[in-house]
Every structure is written in structure tokens, then in C-alpha cells.
Amino acid sequence: MWTYIKPTALAACLILSAGAAAADAIKPETMARNCFTCHGTGGHPVNGLAPLVGIDAKAIETSMIDFRSDRRQATIMNRIARGLSEAEIAALAQYLSTLK
């Protein structure tokens, strides 16, 4: 079939596939890589910010939920935490707790 695929059909399928992927749940490792910009690749910071390794999932989850509700005041972390749902925060916390 590869020889005879028409470009228009291919384009339609690419759009469909992209849409399908976007509707999928966001993987926690995908979320976590955004943390690494400031908190260091793999959660090992070089700049004095909090490391993301060696923390248990519950503690990370509590911090993020508290940032989200402004129970705990920070600068940008409150605004960032509100970009994640509670379920995303739980999944992210679980993933980060596995980092070595």
C-alpha cells in the first residue's frame, strides 16, 4: 500500500493521529521534564533550588496541592501548580518519587 498512498489521505491521518494523542492522558514523565528546566535534569538542581529526588510521593503531592490552593505561598510555584489537575499532580508526584 505504501507506493500508492495519496498525500491528502496521509495528511488527514496525521491530523487524526495528532488529535488522538492529544486527547490521551499526559504521561507524568512528560510533565516532569518541565520541572527539570529549573530543578535540574532528572531533578538534580545546580542552582540551589529544591532537589526533586529522594522525596516521597505524598510529600511532593501535598506541596503541589498546597501551592495549587495557595495554602502554601511561593512565587511562581502557585501559578504553575494550578496548571495541573489533582490527578496529574498525584501521577507526577508518584513519578518524581522514583527518581534517583
Partner: protein, 429 residues
């Protein structure tokens, strides 16, 4: 065709390969070996460097080559601090050798001048060609010389743009140092879109910081093509607190729009008359970096349309584009945005080479700006892909509070520095 996800995913992989070559055969080895595949990255800024590093982190079996014209990387972020005198050019100049040493990225110094998406090769100015299975282009911006009358490369030697860090930054700094006390520094800011939306206003702040300390009778005049700007309330509040009466901002409709540059006389023509500065910094209109234009990745407005999930070009299959060069929906043209997009695009390339669809993305941006060395402000956002493109997650993100204690501004200044160290390491080390 079945509508099952599995079928769609298999089809996507085949389609990605077939679109480039209409031949399944040359893509087969990468799928068969799972780990194999050649990725070429053009551009070694925050976007390209991060993509090369993370592609290798995600799949150490991949052959990743980074092509970059310049031997070292002078970052645009913190170049305003060089103008303000709190950093040197050496402080913001970084080597890319860590990518090779720590991650096995092959570094090629050269200028990519052409892309053949059919035979999947990048051509360098030297004549060398680099074959790829997937290509990522992170070309940054180019200045649109000639877009405003009187502003060409020769004019930029008299009236620097300093919108690409390096010799232009040094030139503008020297002009500021040579200026006599009491002079006016004019900064002309462009219409949207352009690299680093808060950049011109942080620049005004850092120049005012220098002038306040060394030439206190001087002023900064911002002539803006726009009616409003990034973090406007925070900047203007900060200027009032830190530099009362020193910085004046003129919107486009109030005479801020520059129609002509007379570089020899350091004079800018506007609808409301001519403005002459002791030092003039003209930030011109921009477009995607040269290779993006040459390779047909950009549209007629000069920016690159991409798929919001994989960052694959909508115009050239098999080629991903990230960073300042693209239409990124709600995301600004910033270093953090490029770093975030790079990780999504790297993961997408790894998946596609391994026979899987791209994962759903989550993207982030944070732009810190310094109003003074102890006064930081920020804007941040979390983004997802939707059918309409990249959108900010509702009720999240946003800017620093309008009113805050000095300790909060100081804290954000400390974080500005931490952000810089962090992104340099996450991209290059």
C-alpha cells in the same frame, strides 16, 4: 482503515516515513532495531541543545548530531544584564562540549544551508551532507534588514539591534559607556511577534540601572510599535519605584511607531516627528532563522507552522521545528519555551523512530525579568495541545502580584539567577 488507535499509530509511523520518501524501505532499519536511527539537530541554542541532549537521554541508542554555526553560545537571556553592567559577555558565553562529553551528541561546527526532505539530508555550507531519519530545526530568529527604511547591516554597526547576543551586545554596551551624562537612550521596540516579549522593557530597566548609577541626569525613551507590552503594569510600577522620571514609554498610536532609521544621525522618524538619541537601540522586525526560510519551513509571514503534539513541520514532513522560529499558539518566543518544546519534540522523534505515536504534550514557560538587580518579576504558563493548537491551561500561570513586598521582588531576582543557571545546565550540561 480501522479506527483503532493501534492501527492509527502504525499508520502514522509509516506515513511519517513515506511522506518524505514514498519508500518504506529506507525507514525499515530504524523500526526493526528499535533503538537505531539518526537524528540531526540544526541550531545549538536552548532549543536545539536541549533536544539533542534529551533525545540521547531518552534513547541512548540513537545517533544524534548537532550542527551549529557558532563555536560557542552567547545567550540572549542575561544579555540585558551585560548592558546594565552587572554581567560580562564572558558570563553569558557557554561551550557545548558537555553535550558530547556527557551525552554522546556529535557536534558539527558548520552552517546548514539546505534540507532535502526527499533524500533526508542536510547540506552544510562546506558542502558536507548529513543524512537523517528525523531532523529537528531550531534556527532562532533572523533580523529582517530592510523591513524598516534605513535599517540594514551597515546601519546596525551605528545603531545596534543587540537582539542577537554577542558583538552587537558589546557594541551597544560601549556606546552606553561612551555616552555623556544627560543624554537620552532610545530603545525602539517592534510589533508582535518577536523574540522575548519582555526583553525590550527589561533592557530599558537594566540601562536605567546603569545610568542611575553612572550618568544620573540621563533618560531612557522607549518608542514602541505596540499599544501594550508584556508584564506592562509590573514594569511600569517597577520603574516608578526604582527609576522615577527616568524611563518614558511611548505607544504606537502616540508616536512610538518608527518609520525610518537615520543611523548616521542616530535619529528615528515617527509620525509625530524625529527623535534623536545619544544612543539608539533599534529592535527590528524579525522572522524565522535563515535555514527555516531556505528549506520552506516558514510561511509567507516568515514563521513556521508546526503540529502542536509532535512539533513536526506542517510544510515539510520528517522535519520538526521548535523555539522562536515557530507559531507556538499561546507560548511566547522565549528560552524556556524552546527548552520545553525541545523535550516534547525529542520524545516525539524517539517515539516515531521506535514505531509509536507522539505522546500528549505538556509544555511550560517562565520568563523572569529584572527591573533592577534586586527586583525580579515573572510570567509563567502551563500549556497543552488542543485541536486549535497550543493553549494555556485555564486559571493557571500569570504574572507576579501587582503589589508585593520588596522581599518578594528580591526573591524573584534570586530566582531569576537560579533560572539562568538551571536552563543553561539543563540545555548544555
Amino acid at each position: 482503515m480501522s479506527r483503532s488507535r493501534e492501527t492509527r499509530r502504525k499508520f502514522l509511523i509509516g506515513a511519517g516515513a513515506a511522506l518524505g520518501t514514498l519508500a518504506y524501505g529506507r525507514f525499515a532499519p530504524a523500526i526493526a532495531q528499535g533503538a537505531a536511527g539518526r537524528i540531526v539537530v540544526i541550531g545549538g541554542g536552548f532549543g536545539g541543545a536541549t533536544a539533542a541532549k534529551y533525545a540521547r537521554l531518552l534513547n541512548p541508542g540513537l545517533d544524534v548530531t548537532l550542527v551549529e554555526r557558532d563555536p560557542s553560545y552567547v545567550t540572549c537571556p542575561f544579555s540585558n544584564m551585560v548592558l546594565g553592567g552587572t554581567r560580562t559577555l564572558a558570563d553569558i558565553t557557554h561551550e557545548r562540549s558537555g553535550l558530547a562529553r556527557n551525552h554522546g551528541v556529535k557536534l558539527v561546527q558548520g552552517e546548514a544551508v539546505g534540507i532535502d526532505a526527499g533524500s533526508r539530508q542536510v547540506r552544510l555550507a562546506s558542502g558536507q551532507t548529513l543524512p537523517y531519519d528525523r531532523l529537528l530545526v531550531a534556527p532562532g530568529i533572523d533580523i529582517r534588514f530592510g523591513a524598516v527604511e534605513g535599517y540594514d547591516e551597515a546601519a546596525a554597526e551605528l545603531v545596534p539591534h543587540a537582539w542577537k547576543a554577542g558583538p552587537q551586545t558589546t557594541l551597544l554596551r560601549r556606546q552606553l559607556e561612551a555616552m555623556e551624562d544627560g543624554g537620552t537612550v532610545i530603545i525602539a521596540a517592534p510589533a508582535n511577534p518577536f523574540r522575548c516579549p519582555p526583553g525590550p522593557y527589561e533592557r530599558a530597566s537594566m540601562i536605567a540601572h546603569y545610568l542611575k548609577t553612572h550618568k544620573p541626569r540621563s533618560k531612557v525613551l522607549i518608542l514602541d510599535a505596540k499599544e501594550n507590552f508584556s508584564k506592562q503594569g509590573l514594569f511600569q510600577g517597577g520603574w516608578e519605584a526604582e527609576y522615577p522620571g527616568m524611563i518614558e514609554w511611548v505607544s504606537g498610536s502616540a508616536g512610538g511607531k518608527v518609520s525610518r532609521v537615520d543611523a548616521r544621525n542616530r535619529t528615528l522618524a515617527t509620525e509625530f516627528g524625529a527623535q534623536k538619541g545619544a544612543v539608539v537601540n533599534f529592535i527590528p522586525p524579525q522572522q524565522a532563522g535563515r535555514i527555516a526560510i531556505a528549506a520552506g519551513l516558514a510561511d509567507d509571514k516568515g514563521w513556521c507552522p508546526v503540529d502542536p503534539v509532535s512539533f513536526e513541520s506542517k510544510q515539510v514532513p520528517g522535519v520538526h521545528v521548535i523555539g522562536d522560529a515557530i507559531y507556538a499558539g499561546a507560548m511566547p518566543k522565549s528560552g524556556t519555551a524552546a527548552n520545553s518544546q525541545a523535550k516534547i519534540a525529542a520524545a516525539a522523534m524517539v517515539n516515531l523512530l521506535g514505531g509509536k505515536a507522539a505522546d500528549a504534550p505538556m509544555l511550560a514557560n517562565t520568563c523572569y525579568s529584572l527591573v533592577s538587580p534586586d527586583y525580579g518579576i515573572s510570567v509563567t504558563g502551563i500549556y497543552v495541545a488542543t485541536a486549535e493548537g497550543i493553549k494555556e491551561v485555564p486559571n493557571s500561570g500569570g504574572v507576579s502580584p501587582a503589589r508585593a513586598a520588596a522581599a518578594i521582588r528580591k526573591q524573584e531576582a534570586v530566582y531569576t539567577d537560579a533560572w539562568y543557571k538551571g536552563i543553561v545546565a539543563d540545555s548544555l550540561a
